[in-house]
């Protein structure tokens, strides 16, 4: 067949000479560098035009060649795509956060094989999707640079990595010697308990000791004495109309704060049609998070906790509050009256670690009918089963050479035990000591072998934090290192051939009846068989003796020290987590440190700093350097910084545990604060958390920096910022807040027409989506979970102590904390928390001042930040009335185009923690949907725009309008008290529209009078108190024009 020919033109068809030449010369034309006379450009003097051309080109080329090269980090794509994985699309796995005995159901967001964010599991009926700061931060622990990469063995003084097989061989040989002790935290996991039982059976004479760093042994013992059950019941704060807490920080750290916060918030939400909220009394020594949220708060010395409990008991029994006087007496009687009036709807909890005090509290709860209503013995809390005496016995046994082998998992007694030296001495006397901890912590350091366990996000397992509420663990990533799950190690050493995943699967498939049910359980993450609320039979025989014993606890010394847990660090297990270290303490707003909290009275008498005097307060607060005192606590000398905190009982000092970790526990924890565990002591039955054995030298003027993110504590009567009313005033006049707003903006058209009338400029319609957020100041407890969630979601950089000291911290979501009341009267102090983020103002002052329009408004009401347009003039930050804009002062992220520009000394030095966060391991936690900002640009809250975009796309793909379930901001999702509501305010059916409409009496906008038109609205705080405390000190200096304005409610009636 003749070759078929296609042609494009007739010249080609005819194949003319001209075409042939054209075809041959197609690409051979000279470059157009010829001058007019036909000479090549090299021969002719270049024309001016050419000269400019060459100049331009060569300059551009030189610039391109010499320009700053951004370091390239290579990402290698999958060669073979895993079946279920779409790059860029997140997978979610239900699992469980585990730390010590604590277990909270969570859902892990996994992007491209990496877990990057944890959310609460909403299917759980007890945590109800709530999380805490520690849970939010725990995903970073997975990528902790201090995690051990392989088993290790101590030979001589040095520690070498060994293979798992070698470790197993040695350990098996050692275990054969018998009298094995397995030392763990509280284990609530049914499957693990089974594994442990099998292990113990394999080695007769061995035992399992549970040790809780923060023990609730007193509760167990008291319940055994009065109810005959050695359990901790679960509590129902949601059913309580009157809550009395005797030093229990149930919102912050006590027992099960996430669950309790969820419950507490139920009673604190105000329904404006029927405004009733619970009444919360707090009797305590230091200012705790719960105390800060209470309605009525009374302070007493730590050792008087027993007296307060007995006084409350006698007041409830109608005999008046005995043994106390003054305000405290009145407070106790008021609490007793409220409890008596609400029989069966009251709840008293105590944070005391003394058995007798807890017995008295049990008697109180019995008297007010809490047993079986707000206290539920049907599903006990199982997260803290440790018995203090067991640990004492163990330490004595180890030192007595009675322990053949010690296996430690999940606890760190070399740090957490009050007498750590006795423990480590004991370990030395044990022939085989094995640590199964994830890192080279203080305990692991004293052990011969370390077989590091998985992080919980790499593990299989289950937990039963409350009886009947099981929560499942499944791995979300392959183990990063050569580690082995704790249960696997035990199985191996029991001689079992199965691995734990098979064991676990078989166990649950049998229990649930089918593989389908097992899969569903894994998918849901929870298996719940809740029992009906029930009480237990009360036996009051022990009460009389307990009353006497509790009364006898009172000590005569002047000052007493109480040890507490910080909301951020808890018992210190997560101390190497930079997110937690940088989270400001809700009360002191201090980061990266522990310190002694003292009362303003102490400041006045012992330090000569009277913070009720405006000028002295100024001087104290404008520098980060705080007094450093020489203390003698429990006969040992310590040098500790001191922070003056209003609300502290005059003679109470307080210090947090969790700090002062050893060098090897990680670069973030190293060198931060001091260990306060040695301040605890054992009283024969339980561990005491307060001591009267505290002395200090007169202050010699020495100071040390404490990094606070907020230094001024009064809102200075600025009711445009904070609005609060008492419940009674609000009930009398529900329009109080509205009236106050009218007063502020009335002359500019009032609430109705303010948008239009408050400005000279034209206003615009805002159709389509309009994002809005509502924050309820009444249910916000200030815990900071939102802040960490935001950090995790938005890749907010960690700046380290050195930079927080320079007021450079980067949090997009912060919680402002203000005190009011007389600073020298700790009982009068009222605290308010105000979460503060970018308000996404519709008339944003930041937007019009940017010379390059790097920050602008979206059609959906977002105030957007364009990082790569930002040149860093910081004008926007100056002009932001809410001061939420954060500037990248230094290269915190290593994302800068200038290489090697992170300083380790001199001005602008960065702490080790920043470098730790820049490690390629830590960087795995970054959210790939959010740009890591470089040095020199401003950043701030974006309302999680990446989530909004994802939600919008989802709705678009489904061809429907956007619904509330499509989008949740990270802070909203993390909030354990559901204080944050977010959504499309233009959709009348959305939650945000409903919240705003249903609470139109309490709604307000911060700084509404300056007409910036925020898209974040607040709901005013309603306090269940007689009157609001006056805003403190500087009020005296308020100029005439401002007037001595009492808080809103006080002036209105």
């Amino acid at each position: 067949m003749a070759k078929k020919k296609y042609w494009q033109s007739f010249t080609e068809l005819n194949d003319t000479e001209a075409h042939k030449k054209l075809a041959a010369d197609e690409f051979r034309e000279e470059l157009p560098f010829e001058s007019g006379d036909g000479k090549s450009f090299t021969e002719t003097p270049a024309s001016r035009r050419d000269f400019l051309k060459y100049l331009g080109f060569s300059t551009a080329a030189a610039m391109a060649a010499a320009s700053c090269e951004t370091p390239v980090r290579k990402a290698i794509p999958y060669l073979n795509k895993p079946q279920d994985l779409v790059p860029g699309v997140a997978d979610y796995y239900a699992t469980t956060y585990v730390s010590g005995g604590e277990a909270i159901p969570v859902v892990a967001k996994v992007r491209d094989g990496r877990p990057i964010k944890l959310e609460g599991n909403t299917l759980s009926s007890f945590s109800r999707g709530g999380t805490s700061a520690r849970i939010q931060a725990s995903v970073l622990d997975l990528y902790d640079t201090a995690r051990l990469h392989a088993p290790m063995m101590l030979s001589g003084d040095s520690r070498t990595a060994i293979s798992m097989e070698a470790a197993d061989k040695d350990i098996l040989a050692g275990l054969a010697g018998g009298s094995v002790v397995l030392l763990t935290g509280t284990i609530s996991s049914p499957t693990t308990k089974q594994v442990i039982a099998e292990f113990l059976a394999k080695y007769p004479g061995s035992k399992h000791v549970q040790f809780d760093a923060v023990s609730y042994n007193a509760l167990l013992l008291a319940n055994e004495a009065t109810y005959g059950k050695k359990v901790i019941p679960s509590y129902h704060f949601d059913n309580a109309k009157v809550i009395v807490s005797l030093g229990a920080d149930f919102l912050g750290t006590w027992l099960s704060p996430v669950e309790f916060t969820k419950q507490y918030a139920v009673g604190r939400k105000v329904n404006q049609k029927n405004p009733e909220i619970s009444k919360h009394f707090q009797f305590e020594s230091m200012l705790s998070l719960s105390g800060a949220n209470s309605d009525e708060r009374y302070t007493h010395l730590p050792s008087a906790a027993g007296t307060v409990a007995t006084a409350l008991l006698s007041a409830i029994q109608g005999q008046g509050a005995a043994g106390v006087d003054g305000k405290l007496k009145a407070g106790i009687e008021a609490a007793a009256k409220a409890l008596n009036e609400n029989k069966g709807k009251g709840l008293v909890v105590s944070g005391s670690t003394n058995k007798d005090v807890q017995i008295v509290v049990n008697a109180i709860n019995e008297a007010i009918g809490a047993n079986g209503t707000t206290i539920n013995f049907a599903s006990p809390i199982q997260t803290h089963q440790g018995v203090d005496a067991d640990m004492e016995t163990l330490v004595a046994d180890m030192n007595g050479g009675k322990v053949g082998a010690l296996i430690v998992y999940g606890v760190n007694p070399a740090y957490e035990y009050y007498n750590a030296k006795a423990f480590t001495d004991g370990v030395k006397k044990v022939k085989l000591s094995v640590s199964l901890n994830e890192r080279l912590d203080e305990t692991a350091e004293s052990c011969k072998y370390i077989v590091p366990s998985h992080h919980f996000l790499e593990s299989w397992g289950d937990a039963e934090p409350k009886a009947g509420f099981i929560t499942m663990l499944q791995p979300t990533i392959n183990p990063l290192f050569k580690t082995r799950q704790f249960q696997d190690s035990l199985l191996k050493w029991s001689g079992s051939a199965v691995t734990f995943d098979t064991y676990f699967k078989n166990n649950w498939t049998t229990k649930l009846g089918s593989p389908t049910a097992y899969n569903k359980a894994l998918q849901d993450g929870v298996v719940e068989t809740p029992a009906a609320v029930a009480g237990a039979a009360f036996n009051g025989a022990a009460v009389a003796a307990a009353v006497t014993a509790a009364n006898a606890l009172k000590k005569a010394s002047k000052n007493e020290l109480v040890v507490y847990q910080k909301v951020s660090l808890g018992d210190g297990k997560q101390a190497n987590n930079p997110w937690l270290q940088e989270l400001p303490d809700p009360i002191t707003k201090a980061t990266w440190d522990n310190y002694i909290m003292v009362s303003p009275q102490f400041g006045k008498t012992e330090l000569g700093i009277d913070i009720s005097d405006a000028h002295q307060a100024d001087k104290y607060e404008v520098v980060m350097d705080k007094p450093l005192l020489n203390f003698t606590i429990n006969k040992k000398a310590y040098k500790l910084p001191v922070l003056i905190v209003p609300g502290m009982q005059s003679n109470t000092l307080a210090i947090a545990i969790g700090y002062g970790r050893s060098e090897k526990s990680g670069r973030a924890a190293n060198g931060v604060g001091q260990n306060a565990y040695p301040f605890l002591s054992y009283n024969g039955t339980t561990v005491d958390w307060s001591t009267a054995d505290v002395e200090f030298e007169k202050w010699d003027g020495e100071k040390t920096p404490v990094a606070q993110t907020q230094t001024h504590s009064s809102y200075e009567g600025r009711h445009e910022v904070i609005k609060e009313v008492t419940l009674n005033d609000y009930k009398k006049n529900p329009k109080l807040i509205i009236e106050e707003r009218e007063e502020e903006i009335g002359k500019y058209g009032g609430i109705e027409n303010y948008t239009k009338e408050g400005t000279l400029y034209p206003t615009y319609d805002r159709p389509g989506i309009k994002w809005g957020m509502s924050i309820d100041l009444n249910s916000c407890i200030g815990c900071g979970a939102c802040s960490v969630a935001c950090t995790a979601e938005n890749n907010v950089p960690v700046v380290g102590k050195s930079e927080v000291l320079r007021f450079h911290e980067m949090h997009w979501m912060r919680i402002d904390r203000y005190f009011s009341g007389d600073v020298h009267d700790s009982d009068s102090i009222q605290t308010i928390f105000q979460p503060m983020i970018c308000q996404h103002c519709d008339n944003a002052p930041c937007e019009n001042v940017c010379p390059v329009a790097a920050t602008n408004h979206s059609s959906e009401g977002l105030n957007q930040m364009t990082y790569n347009r930002c040149i860093g003039t910081r004008y926007c930050a100056n002009n932001c009335p809410f001061k939420v804009r954060r500037f990248n002062w230094l290269d915190y992220t290593g994302a800068d185009s200038f290489a090697d520009n992170q300083l380790t000394s001199g001005v602008g030095k960065l702490d080790d923690a920043v470098f730790m966060m820049n490690d390629s391991l830590s960087r795995m936690v970054l959210n790939p949907d959010v740009t890591v900002r470089s040095r020199g640009v401003i950043e701030k809250c974006s309302f999680c725009i990446q989530r909004l975009q994802e939600g919008k796309l989802k709705a678009k793909k489904d061809n429907r309008t956007l619904e509330d379930t499509d989008v949740k901001t990270a802070c909203q999702q993390a909030c354990p008290s559901d204080a944050i509501v977010f959504g499309n305010a233009n959709n009348s059916k959305s939650e945000i529209s409903k919240v705003r409409a249903e609470n139109n009496e309490r709604i307000f906008f911060a700084l509404e009078q300056i007409h910036v038109m925020p898209n974040v609205s607040y709901l005013a705080k309603v306090r269940n108190v007689e009157k609001l405390s006056a805003v403190h000190h500087t009020e005296d200096n308020v100029p005439e024009t401002e007037g001595k304005k009492e808080p809103a409610a006080a002036e209105k009636h």
Partner: protein, 482 residues
Amino acid sequence: MALLKYESNVRPPLVEGKKDYHQVTEDIVRPIEGPPSKLWWIGFLVSVALLLFGVYSVYREVTYGVGEWNLNKTIGWGWDITNFVWWVGIGHAGTLISAILLLFRQGWRTGVNRAAEAMTIFAVMCAGQFPIWHMGRVWMAFFVLPYPNTRGPLWVNFNSPLLWDVFAISTYFTVSLLFWYSGLIPDLATVRDRAKLKWRKYMYGLLSFGWTGSTKHWQRHESLSLVLAGLSTPLVLSVHTVVSFDFATSIVPGWHTTIFPPYFVAGAIFSGFAMVQTLLLVTRKVLKLEEYITIEHIEVMNKVIVLTGSIVGIAYLTELFIAWYGMNKYESWAFMHNRLDLFSPYGWSYYLMMGCNVLSPQIFWFRKLRRNIGLTFFMSILVNIGMWFERFVIIVTSVYRDYLPSSWSTYYSPSIYEVGFYLGTFGLFFTCYFLFSKFFPVIALAEIKHILKKSGEDFKPAMEPIEEESAETFYKEVSHHH
């Protein structure tokens, strides 16, 4: 004959020492032609050293970040913008002297205008450093220029006062530079004509643009001067007005004030004259120009200082009054607490400002004190310290405690590199000034010759015979000659 009034009874001569034209040229060009003095070298090297430290400080800031300074999340601007406004303010006197005083026919200005204009240009150069280098990403600074780009419709934000600054400062700099240089051309030609060395002749020949001194040249030169004077006059008022908008258009209590434009302009002239005093008192001494820059000049400028100082004082009091009268609690807080309260963290800076700017210049109501050179020098320094603190007070004490007490800042004081940058601009300023005084005539040679005869004192002897003539004889003689 009492008909002739050639002699001013009021005005003293503007140039002392009975100079003739040649001597003027000699006096003014001499420093250019000889080798620089030891004093000059010391001054120059110190300036260069300061400049180099400034360059290092800026290098640190650009490489490691603005975190090399002690600004923070609440105080976004501190020494950087304080220094910027301060230098811009100083850059006002030159143009005021050359333009406005030219239009007002103030003959005395010729003795000082050249140096004042040079000072203006150098001060604006220094001022310009701050808004540029204070940026977080200075390598992207060109984003502030409205140039056609490939980023779609992305354009600068014409609503932003910072952008107005870009235009205001660059226009002001350009016009001032042209004005200064066009005035220099005839003088450079004089230097060229006197030059004996070949390279000197060549360089000054280039610089003088082929000036021949023809009538046409002079005519054009005069017209250009008038046109540029007309152009710069509004600029004197507009530049600092625009700078004040950086603050006035914001919502920060203490910045958001409608009084700022006139207040800033008065303050700028105030500090500009003080700086001119400082420089000229040194220059006249070092270059031995006491006969050109006379005590009369100094007194006149002291009068301007007391006037503008008092205007500034009234502005301060007005601000305070409005803060009280306005019933805006946030504004009143900024004034009553952050400033007026001496024992508040920055209270001292407010009183330092008040003392230096409002109280101390009042001594110039006394003629004797106005004519005291030592005192004038001291006062000129004091005024500039005061004016620096004025900007510091406005910027820092407003923003460090504004709306939300939660964000109230800790005490801000500069880091070594922040101070270094400021010192570096001093280095830049004085390096330029020393080079200027070495290579350019520091007094407007051509212009001063215009006013050489303004005063009758020198011509009295020559006039005496005529004085004795009768009017008729005189008239006859005159008409005979012409």
